[in-house]
Symmetry: C2
Subunit: 96 residues, 2 copies
């Protein structure tokens, strides 16, 4: 299992609507093949920065299966309009 971590940057004056959009998009992740867990975190030091943290059974479940799915298109349609910078995505595996 791995975690996708996407750093998302928005206009912080639109935070409430952004969080509602991510909440609406959550079901598209939960319905995806290989989905494990979902969280949205906000950075205390910078209210324009959020982190989407999604657990997947494998790297490919995110980078191949989900990104080629209608669920990904739906996620981007909901949340994408809020982004003021390209999302920065990386993947991590827990070692301790």
């Amino acid at each position: 299992m791995i975690h996708e971590i996407a750093r998302l940057t928005i206009d912080p004056t639109r935070a409430e609507a952004f969080e509602a959009a991510v909440g609406a998009a959550r079901a598209h992740f939960e319905a995806a093949k290989g989905f494990v867990s979902f969280a949205l975190e906000r950075v205390l030091e910078n209210p324009a920065h959020y982190r989407l943290v999604v657990g997947w059974e494998s790297l490919e479940a995110h980078t191949v299966d989900f990104r080629s799915s209608e669920g990904f298109q739906a996620w981007r349609a909901l949340a994408g309009p809020f982004f003021v910078a390209p999302p920065e995505v990386e993947h991590v595996t827990r070692v301790l």
Copy 2:
């Protein structure tokens, strides 16, 4: 509750020794006032990058209490020699 997220950069040829040092330091976090959880994650896209993710009861439990404690000194003594860049630390709160 909040999470401290520290991006740590090391020489990846020393990964095994670094992970052992973090494992040895774990008890110093677990003994700290306000400690909640501990994880070390490795970034798949760049083996020089790790993320230390520590849950704390409050921001101050990390930034005030822990950073002024002997446990923090012990952590830095164990892991600091592996750092090849200053740690980049931020704090997040879960919103979804």
